[in-house]
Symmetry: C2
Subunit: 175 residues, 2 copies
DNA sequence: ACAGCCATGTAACTTGTTACATGATTTT
DNA sequence: AAAATCATGTAACAAGTTACATGGCTGT
């Protein structure tokens, strides 16, 4: 439920065509999440199906320009004014992995260790990307968010390790 | 890609039937993400389709017991030993929302404000849930993760507001 | 008798995602 | 002439999710 609303938000600034939407979406959110062009069109047809946008005639260059509808504008207002709830968020794969490792497995530490290394590397790349990023204030915020999240993850991993160390792991499970 | 692997991990401890899997999944990960029982069965049939589990005969009580296959075990080892990469994670709706608000809209502050209130409330509920939670070490870690994430979100929201205050918002867009 | 839990399953749908086909225009 | 970029679109699938149908068993 994010690309859908993202494209809608871009369309609320004025009519756009597909290719243009991808470009703007990527300059807003950055290269970290590349957006496949095909998805722009699938998403646009779903938005059209739901009467949130409507395609106009082709322009002089033969491009299909989409316009947001009143319902689309309302939906967008709703989106901006409604906070993202805990329940809306997808299940976090890492959290499930560690939870399962704790319940199912003996040795969680290598899992934590591998993740920590990966997250640290991610953090370095993010910092580098942030140094490189000159303009685009929105992109900078996206990078910052990722940095904050990665740091929180590191802290959580440390915390998990500490907890594991405190309560000695029950013996090696079967296999 | 999380429930799938989660159920597989539970099955790696020994044969289980559907209803039991939901119960164990929920005691591991907690009530924050309730798992619809229907999904257990759809996921199980997909795991079966991919030869990662195989259903046995019904037991004395007529329950269908699933067993992990060798391929399933391998897949699970791979899952545990491979860290979750940045690119694996789903797009964060809140981040996209703020990025879009920055590019498209004039006033980001009410969006930030609404989110901050919601996140703060979430944080209080999580703290309460943590106090209430007596046993289940895995569940406690899940709660901790959510708390760490919510705190990081608060910090990021503060940061966004600070950045917005520093660089005065370009004028009210159309509409 | 009836409520409620245990237990399995299916149909239908959503979003996200990619691979591929197709053609126009632009650059080298 | 070839390569790259602009531009649109479709088919196909994965995973997540819910609503619903069905039946057995248990406690009141």
């Amino acid at each position: 439920m994010a690309i859908r609303q993202g494209l809608l938000a871009l369309l609320s600034q004025g009519p756009r065509y597909g290719y243009q939407l991808r470009a703007e979406f990527e300059t807003s959110t950055g290269a970290t999440w590349p957006l496949n062009i095909g998805q722009v069109y699938t998403t646009l047809s779903r938005l059209e199906r739901d009467d949130l946008v409507s395609p106009g005639e082709q322009d002089e260059q033969g491009r299909v320009v989409y316009t947001i509808t009143e319902a689309g504008r309302a939906e967008m207002e709703r989106w901006f004014s409604t906070p993202v709830a805990q329940a809306d968020r997808p299940r976090d794969e890492l959290v499930i992995k560690l939870a399962m490792a704790v319940t199912a497995r003996a040795d969680v530490r290598p899992v934590i260790q591998a993740q920590r290394t990966a997250t640290m590397r991610t953090l370095q790349e993010l910092t580098r990307a942030k140094r490189a990023n000159a303009g685009e204030p929105a992109q900078r915020l996206v990078l910052d968010s990722m940095i904050f999240q990665a740091e929180a993850e590191q802290r959580w991993l440390d915390h998990c390790e500490a907890v594991m160390a405190a309560s000695p792991q029950t013996q090696e499970t079967q296999r």
